[in-house]
């Protein structure tokens, strides 16, 4: 059975862009191990030469016209969903130090 260490949880948190408290790390360590333990029952199943399924519709190369479509929302309306607006633009933190 997969053993999950605190370091594993911290690595997953880093990959997932999550900041976890020490309590959360301990909690998820136990829970993730239990849940992976449950799904591990798949490991012993022999699936022969079956191919994986990623979608069930069987549709291929669905095309549509590459045209502009207006939803009627103004830039001002869209910007209202952000908390930090400067001169009609979204201000984010510095990316390069």
């Amino acid at each position: 059975m997969a053993k999950i260490t605190k370091e594993d949880v911290l690595r997953l948190a880093r990959l997932s862009r999550l900041h976890l408290t020490d309590e959360e790390v301990s909690k998820y360590q136990v829970e993730i191990e239990a849940m992976l333990g449950y799904v591990e029952q798949l490991k012993s199943v022999d699936l022969g030469d079956l191919e994986p399924t990623s979608q069930v519709t069987g549709l291929k190369n669905v095309m549509r016209q590459d045209t502009e479509k207006s939803y009627g929302a103004s830039p001002e309306q869209l910007l209202k969903n952000s908390t930090s607006i400067v001169e009609g633009q979204i201000k984010v933190r510095r990316m390069l130090q």
Binding site: H19, E31, M35, Y38, L47, T53, V56, Q65, N81
Partner: protein
């Protein structure tokens, strides 16, 4: 309590809109009736927010169109509630998550647009497990919805607010989403009809994504005719969702009423140990009645069903972790005030905004998709999905439908499973298989066990939604 809840103040959707068209009733009165009923059932927490101003405006517009003698749509004037993971105008769309608190959608979901075009009126947004992650609404970041039949019990989830709203009689129908059972389970726990269509039959455009390869959209109602009418309106191809398929040429109304000679496979894996005796006997009684109505009952086995839940809980968190990566707290959604660079802003915004189940699924999804584990978990699960589909196809060469309970138990007590997330996942044990195969499935009320509703689950081959609705319609009549 059950007998009170089984009566509705709303006539059928078709007759409500006929009355509105004929001027016998006013859309505005119907909307006000919905709000009055909502107010009287406030303690159940079925709803997160209302869209009152917009709803009243639309109702007045419909009434004035009727006055001018204009033709209005099939569910015109009929108030409904949408699960709060549908993008709608007139209020916030939060998916019951703190990370989306205050979010105003810039466009509406296709299902909402199609209903509005036919004159239906969205009056409120229903509570859910945040982002659809759960089976009880206890994972809502705001509050837990209470079961209309017993306030100490959960309504099921994740579309728990939608199911409760219908049974509390606030509206004649509600919209839900079903990724692994999220329409069928709450329908079963609350005593509603819950319809999960074939994957791709209803556009996912404008519905907040959970696990894209199994996300479906469908109605919760009090009867099959209403569910069929709503499905008829919202289904069919949509260029905004490349996975959509054409609807049935005959549509989904005027259903056949004869099930003579139809073969129903009773799935052995659905009736195994663990199924509560009260639930089992309601399902067996219902199947007996279907036999009396002319159906042929056959016992069948689908061996991979016992692995479907493990398969689902690899694929679902994998897709969840990918779909939730867009919430970075910059352009919209919760932004953290914690100091630091942009990376810190992402990390803190996500950590403060997501609840514990979302974080749990993100972490597990990231694990099964990470290099070194991808083949052992994700690829294996996807391949098991192929096997499950193959077994479903083989069985559907022999029978027309499959049947079993929606859930092995009736609605559980609030707090009973919340401390053990694995136990909460197990609630989905009988509903995930049709989600993975893309098959249509429905929960039809099948009576009560110890005062709580039981739902029978009926499943049809992919694309056979019309046949499934016909069987479901006969089923509700024989119970």
């Amino acid at each position: 309590m059950s007998s009170v809840l089984s009566k509705s103040q709303w006539p059928s959707i078709a007759s409500i809109s006929t009355d509105v068209q004929n001027g016998k009733s006013k859309a505005l009165d119907l909307v006000e009736l919905a709000y009055k009923t909502l107010e009287n059932s406030n303690e159940f927490n079925s709803v997160i927010s209302t869209t009152k101003k917009r709803a009243i405006g639309i109702a007045m517009d419909i009434d004035s169109r009727v006055k001018k003698g204009q033709k209005i749509g099939k569910p015109a004037g009929v108030p409904f509630i949408a699960k709060d993971n549908f993008l709608t105008f007139g209020g916030e769309t939060t998916a019951a998550s703190n990370i989306l608190k205050g979010f105003n959608a810039p466009y509406q979901a296709t299902a909402i647009e199609r209903l509005e075009a036919e004159g239906a009126i969205c009056v409120a947004k229903a509570n859910l497990d945040a982002f659809g992650h759960g089976a009880s609404t206890e994972n809502s970041d705001f509050y837990t919805t209470k079961n209309p039949h017993d306030q100490k019990r959960v309504p099921g989830g994740s579309s728990g607010g939608s199911a409760a709203a219908v049974i509390l009689d606030i509206v004649p129908f509600a919209l839900g989403t079903d990724t692994g059972g999220s329409i069928r389970l709450p329908a079963s726990f609350c005593g509603a009809v819950g319809y999960k269509p074939t994957y791709g039959l209803v556009s996912r455009s404008g519905v907040i994504a959970m696990a894209s390869s199994t996300d479906t959209i469908g109605p919760l109602t009090r009867n099959i005719a209403d569910a069929a009418l709503i499905l008829d309106i919202i289904s069919g191809k949509d260029e905004l969702d490349g996975t959509t398929i054409e609807k049935d040429k005959l549509g989904y109304t005027n259903l056949p009423t004869d099930i003579k000679g139809k073969k129903i496979g009773i799935v052995a894996e659905f009736m195994g140990k663990g199924v509560d005796p009260g639930v089992r006997s309601r399902i067996e009684d219902t199947l007996k009645e279907l036999k009396n109505a002319g159906a042929e009952l056959v016992e069948v086995s689908i061996p991979s069903i016992s692995l479907a839940l493990a398969c689902y809980y690899i694929i679902c968190p994998a897709e969840v972790s990918s779909n939730l990566s867009r919430y970075d707290g910059q352009r919209y959604g919760h932004t953290s005030n914690m100091s630091g660079n942009i990376e810190d802003s992402y990390n803190w915004s996500r950590s403060e905004g997501f609840g514990s189940e979302a974080k749990r699924r993100i972490l597990i999804g990231t694990y099964v998709l990470s290099s070194g584990y991808y083949d052992a978990y994700y690829k294996k699960a996807q391949t098991l999905r192929t096997k499950l589909i193959k077994e479903f196809n083989e069985i559907f060469n022999k029978v027309d439908f499959l049947a079993g309970p929606v859930s092995p138990v009736t609605a559980f007590k609030i707090g009973q499973n919340i401390k053990d997330p694995l136990q909460m996942w197990l609630v989905d044990i009988l509903t995930v298989a049709p989600s993975l195969t893309g098959s249509p499935a429905v929960s039809v009320p099948a009576g009560y066990s110890n005062g709580m509703p039981v739902g029978i689950q009926l499943i049809a081959p992919t694309g056979k939604d019309r046949d499934l609705l016909a069987l479901a319609s006969v089923t509700e009549k024989v119970i």
